[in-house]
Every structure is written in C-alpha cells, then in structure tokens.
Symmetry: C2
Subunit: 318 residues, 2 copies
Amino acid sequence: PDDTSAEQARDRQGILTKPPGSLGKLEELAVWLASWQGREKPKLDRVEVFVFAGSHGVTNRGVSAFPAEVTAQMVANFEHGGAAINQLARQAGANLTVIPLDIDQPTVDFTIAPAMDEQAFLDAVNIGYEAVKDRPDLVVLGEMGIGNTTVAAALSCALLGGEGADWVGRGTGVDDEGLQRKASAVDDAKTCHGNALSDPLEALRRVGGRELAAMFGAILAARHAQVPVLLDGFVSTAAALPLAKLDPNGLAHTWAAHVSAEAGHRRLLDALQMKPLLDLGMRLGEASGACLAVNILRGAIACHNGMATFAEAGVSDG
Amino acid sequence: PDDTSAEQARDRQGILTKPPGSLGKLEELAVWLASWQGREKPKLDRVEVFVFAGSHGVTNRGVSAFPAEVTAQMVANFEHGGAAINQLARQAGANLTVIPLDIDQPTVDFTIAPAMDEQAFLDAVNIGYEAVKDRPDLVVLGEMGIGNTTVAAALSCALLGGEGADWVGRGTGVDDEGLQRKASAVDDAKTCHGNALSDPLEALRRVGGRELAAMFGAILAARHAQVPVLLDGFVSTAAALPLAKLDPNGLAHTWAAHVSAEAGHRRLLDALQMKPLLDLGMRLGEASGACLAVNILRGAIACHNGMATFAEAGVSDG
C-alpha cells in the first residue's frame, strides 16, 4: 500500500463540504482504494469480476439440495447471460469473466483422501493467479460449485478449529438431514487428514476445491500487483483464509463486500476481524454480493473525487 | 399496492435460476417495487431525489457544531454541484431537485412557541406534496438544515415518548455540552407544548420544521400516487413518523434506505419496525444514504427482470 496516497486522500476527506466523518464507511473506502491504487483520487474505470467454477467429490455425500450437474448447467447459464451475476456485473459497470476449472472432473471426496494432488492444486492456483492481468482498478471474486459451502466449512474448520456443526449451514437449501450430512463430512475430513491440516496451503489442497485454489491465486496476484479486491460470500472468504494464516496482514488489500445468510460466513468474518459492507441476507455466491458493493465503492469515490472543498464552495467549516 | 403484480413478481422470483430466497432482500425489494408500481417487472427509469432545506429558530440554543448560515451556503453548494448528494444522485442515475423553504426566515424557536403558524406549516406541506408529479418510478427524500437533528429528536420524543437524552446525538459533531443543550431543548419543547403534541400533525407543526413538513407532504403525495419512496436518515424518517401515527400502515410504500450513525435513528426505525438496507456509519443527510441504496434497488430489478428461468436455461431446479 502507498502511505503517501492514503494520507493525501485522508487529508482531502477532511476539507470536503461535509462534517468530518459524516460519510462513514465511504470515507474509509476512498482512503483504502487510494492506498492500494497509489493515487490520491482513486478510479474504478476497469473492474474485473472473476467467477471460478469447480466440481466436488464430496457431493457424493448428499451435501447439496441441487444435483452436481447444476455446476455445468450454471456455467452455461453464465455464458448465455441468464444468471444473477450477469445482471449484477453489468449494473456495476464491471467486466465478467467466468473460468470453469475441469468441471467435468470432480475433486476427490476429501472425507477419504486429499481433494487435489499437488499438480491439480498448483494448476488451479496458477489459473487464478494468471487471471489478474495489467493491474485492473479493482478485482471482484466469486464462485460457482455445487457442494462448495461444505468445502468452505471444511477449510474454515481445519484452519480455525471447532466442529463441523459450527461451520455448516443450509447452503442452497438443504433440510435437517442434509445439514447433518454436511457437518459429518467436515468432521470426517478432519479425522481423515489430521495434522496435515495445520499447514494453510496443505489444508487448501486437501479439503479445498479448484475454484477456491484459483481464488486464492487471484488474491495473491492482486496483492503482488497492489490491486484492491472485493470478496463475496462464505466460499470466497474461505479461499482467502489461508493467506491470512500465512501472514496476519495478508488480506489488507481485500474488503468483505457482504455477509451472507450462511451462518459460517459471519463466524469466519469475525475470526478475520473483517467488517462486511452489506448485510442483505444473500446466499447465492457468483460474486453477486460483491458486485452490489461495487456501486457503494463508486459512490465513495464519486464523493471523494467530485465534491467541493469548504474553501472552493465558500462554506463555513464549523 | 397492487396485490396481483406483487404475486406475479413473487412467482417469478421462484422460477429464476437461483436457489429460492438466495437473493435475500433483493427479492423482497423487487416484489415491493412491483407492488407499488403495479407491474410484474418494475422499472427505475425515472428516479426523483428531492432535498428540502429549512432554517430553524432552535439553532439559537447552540445545538449545532456549524453556524446557521451554513444552510444557505450548502444550498448554494448543491446548486453548483459541489455537495455529496450531487455526486451520489448522478451515480444513482437520479434527477436531483433542491427545494429551499424560506431559508432566510428561520422557524420560531420551538422551546418557547410553535415552530410554524398554520399557514407556514400548510405551505411547506403543500410544497412537498406538489413536488411529486407525473408518477415517477421512485422518490428519494432528503434534507439540509443546520439544527434539524434536534428537530427530529423533538418530533420523535413528542410522538414516541422518552426524554430528550434518549433521542439526541452528536449530529454534525457537537461536543458533550452541545449534546446536553440538544437534550434540554427537546425537554423544554415537551414542557412548552404539553398535550398539544399528542396530535401527530400538530406535533409536526409545533416542533417540526419546514423541510420536515415538506417531506411529510411528499410522502403523502407518493402514497396517493402509489409511488415507492426511499427514506434517508434520522430527519427524513422523523418526517415520516406522523403518517405512521395517523395510520399504522401509512408507511408501507416507504423503505428505510439506511440507518445513520445518529443514535436516535436506530431507535426510531426500531419503533417503526423498519429494517434499513444499509448500515455504513453515515450521518450527512442530503439523501446521501438513500441515493446509495438506489443502486441496490437497481441490482434487485436487474436480477428480477433480466435473469433466465430454470426452464429457459435448462438448469435442474433441485
């Protein structure tokens, strides 16, 4: 981050025609964007939304209300412009790129063996890393993958402790038995992998999934390029978690766009001490909540860049 | 409201390519807009933001961190495009109209006499009522008026009970003594007007202000024309309160866009059982929080109107 740009932006907020602090989070967001973009007046001319899709062996355990083939069907829906994210990305003035990751080849059921071998894991991380090109103004991350709230729960549980029941939720809408199956799958994964889960990257390989590995790679690439990132829901935040475990300051370039209705997400955000911008009861994934938050960021920089100062407007500053 | 359109919209939400309910508040918002606009697929082609400005005799009591002349200075700033609301209205794709109400003639200090005589009160209500013309798709209400968080506190206290200290906050940034002066002004107003405050409209005349009366008029006009309304912060919600007191269902066409950092606002929203869309620590007024929420509504209808159904996309519906 660029401390000089952050300080210039903070100073500017203090002389705009409003009581100091009265724009609340909008002021913090403008300073955060200034800091990572390295300019006093941030811009959002190029916003890149990446939706990574993956298939999961753990769906064999009956952890979703939808059949596994819906992942491929929804990828086709994205390509034809029919999904929520297509509408929300357009409304946010963002470019949408959907990246399916071997979706015809599910990961291994992680309750019995590592989800990915090392090559598959690194391939997925690299695809995410390479997606972030030419320093966009903002990266927005989302995912699609039937079964992946169980994956997010397993990864969160592996790295933050607790039991499966603490981290699972109804996802796309499982019933009580489905919820129990999700909790058991997470507990079985912990038993299966044991101490190997104490390494954040190894945990991501063993109980993660390709789309989580790719999001991890994209978050890392954004950090290297000093690009701010909006995280979406439970799954994208879980994908970011290994970086926070590797470096306590590792997610400073990311902001939680919203807190989802999936209970594990709130618990995870609390553990990461991240305060989400929106709380709208959403639980769709696809970067849908994060895309909504893009327009909050646009409002923040519209005020920051466009407002008159007290001196320019001839307004008494209290 | 149009129950048929609401039901059609609700049915449509059930067949779009997402788990039922997974868009959370966005689904409720789409159905709410459908209901008041009387169309299955709502639109937001014409969004009208009205910012009413007024001057307050109670500023004599030292209730603001800014001098009273800032009201006129900020109205000039609105006209020159330099304020937060100019940037946020543009970013929301909304038309902004600023309506100053005799700002060179403050209301009477309501701690000693009614703020407005009947003619002044009715004139202000009428100006607000007449502002809502030709059935816009959405009305967004905000205000400017140094001293008016004390007015909002007095009106809330008059109609909902409690003491001044329960309803006042730091507004534009008063210190501890200023906060005490605000609480005393509210308590003195209750003592001065006594039982006359039990009538909601009489309370609005006696301890309100011109911009609150105008917002009340605009909310009433919107109801008559079946136009949905976004309320902004503490002052605009307080202006809506008399209608809720006159009719428990009187604010069904309104939605609280955000909850402000001014503590009285949360208390007031709780009393009205209104759940705000945003909670961003804002406390500026000017319709700033409500304008940010317009883009949440745009996201809601973009999904509602533009998404494919399960049948159209060939996606299994669970």
